[in-house]
Amino acid sequence: MIYSVVGHYSLILGFCIGLILIFLSIKNFKNSNQLDTKILSFSFLQLFFVLISFLALIISFVISDFSNETVFNNSHTTKPLFYKISGTWGNHEGSLLLWLLVLTLFIFIFLLRTKNQPTKYKILTLGFQQVIIVGFFLFLIQTSNPFNYLFPVPDEGLGLNPILQDPALAIHPPILYLGYVGSSIIFSSALAATTLKMVSSSWAIHIKKWVLVSWIFLTLGILLGSIWAYYELGWGGFWFWDPVENVSLMPWLALTTLLHCILVLERKEILTSWVIVLSIATFTLSMCGTFLVRSGILNSVHTFANDPERGLFILIFLFALIFLSLFIFFFFHQNNKNNLSNFFWLSKETSILVNNWFMMYFLSVVLIGTVYPIFLDVLSSQKISVGPPFYHKLIAPFLIPFLFAMAIGPRLKWIRSDLKDKIYLISLLIISILISFFIVKNFNINTLINTILISSALYLFFITLRDFFNKKYKNFAQNTAHFGFSLLILSILFNNLFSSEIITNLKVGETYNNSKTKIVFESINQKKDKNYKSIIANFNITSSEGINNNLSPELRIYNQPNITTSEADIKTTLMEDKFIVINLVQNQDYFNVRYQVKPFMLWIWLSVIMISLGGLVSFLQKRI
């Protein structure tokens, strides 16, 4: 009770400080060239109040204070402590509070860490960021206050959706938000830089660090969500082109484009408008994502809070931000005068343009695929589904030239280049084609596109692999990320092509047998935990090579809310995952058993980690 009050009032105080900060930044912007020390202290105070309010919510969850509506809706006394805490951001209100916490944290760090940049720029960035922050405060207090009071106080809460009670999902939102919200700094800073006409290479070097930070977190956040989907949703897939997944992918694509584009700006002071547009687009896409998820327009696994009023608020807020940025862009932005340099067709900048070109295409595919059904539904009330086949058809063919460009591009020099080591490049190409031909031939996959895709991915793989051992080659960060990407594409392809599965119904004691696999359903045990009962099935699986595995998938029947989840049992090895999941068959003693062998699963995760590692190396690197 007391914590809710504290939390609520700190929120209001934080909101007021936001207003004060906007006022102060306008005043300071006009008058002086010195950063007002009051700004820094107020910014810290704002962070402090949001933190207090966030901690108050966590404590309310920990002590199960059901006079708080959010706690009542999303918690239960029998839940383990860990999930009581993670339940704080496992719901709409709490996750928005977390969003706000990250917003205030980032702007504070920005003020502290930004050196060698004009004071006016810092103040203006703060001003824009505070506009966003105040908008979110209003949104939170108006439509989704996490501290609503309930009377009479209920004895017991409604509980957290069991599929959210999972370690990966406990850290997935914070990590993802660090990425999403990090893009807000890029947005504010791009607007500030445009207003002051200081979009230059020194700004590019400064903002690149922020781009990298949010890019790394976004990458890892998406990865965590994907891993969670793989073992928790019970279908063994890791990416379904679900609208909410797409919504997180779009800012990632924009951010990746920005990351590459900034390299050109850093070096040659051209493409300024494009960098600004991308910076604005990244944050706008993150906001769009929030809008689409929270308004309940989308049909998705992730939609846990939908309320038209919230949707409307975000929509208005979003349009205000877009309007503001367009206004600033058109009135203040000046195209660089030295924008005369002609690009030679074979140069690093051209290859980066090619990257941008393809990335924008991928982004448009994802964007159109996600929003087209919504518009069609509104305009002609025709309901269509846009699912994996659409994305695969439009993206896979374009990946081929993209992968080749990824292999060749980084080897080129700025301004004008020539291909060195031609023999090497060609021989590696031949080897890649031969290997992929061999693979395809050997395993009867007669699709032309797979052969070419595997060859191009292998080509990138070999070239980047070789560059690790090439002493002349300096760009370790880039090479790591590109190598990771080739590994990712290869793992996904092989995973798709060579996965196999068995679906069958079995009773205890029965055996399933086919030419390759023998599945023995040995026994079931029951277990009782604090907030769920579980049925554990024990299987013994023998493959044709005589490898023996014991796997024990689980069915969990949660008490509150009363939902049954199936927990997959996965045996991970370097080469393949063995994945088994069971389900009850209605009114019978049979269990529906789904057993999958998924090669290279581990490598999908590892390669994404490697990609973000590339980002980390680049972040830590001193500029040479």
Binding site: V301, S380, N442
Partner: protein, 120 residues
């Protein structure tokens, strides 16, 4: 360097010996492209709901009756509408959906060539 390359190739070949080709049944391919209407964003193939299970049985039945995958898709389309198909196909409702990204790609390419490569 050469030895290194050869080693990689041998390694890769060894890896693939362990893998078995997939005998993906036609049913799986079809059910992957059907939306489970009672679930939140899952395909019939991925879901274990009653609806999905009965759909799987129905697809099996139709396959054994000798219908092609196209005929089965049409059957479901007529019964439940386009909503059930994950592959939106090319028709008058989806021309824009398929062509817009391609168009954006072409325009993007044209812009790049025009303003950076050919510029005098």
């Amino acid at each position: 360097m050469k030895i290194f390359k050869v080693l990689i190739i041998i390694f890769l070949l060894l890896c693939f010996n362990n893998l078995s080709a997939n005998e993906n049944s036609e049913r799986n391919e079809i059910t992957k492209n059907l939306r489970c209407l009672v679930c939140q964003g899952q395909s019939v193939y991925d879901s274990d709901s009653d609806f999905a299970n009965s759909m799987k049985i129905l697809v099996d039945k139709k396959l054994s009756e000798g219908l092609s995958d196209k005929e089965i898709y049409n059957l479901f389309k007529e019964k439940y509408g386009y909503w059930i198909l994950y592959d939106p196909g090319l028709n008058k409702n989806t021309y824009l959906l398929w062509l817009l990204p391609i168009l954006i790609f072409l325009i993007g390419g044209a812009i790049i060539v025009k303003s950076f490569i050919l510029k005098k």
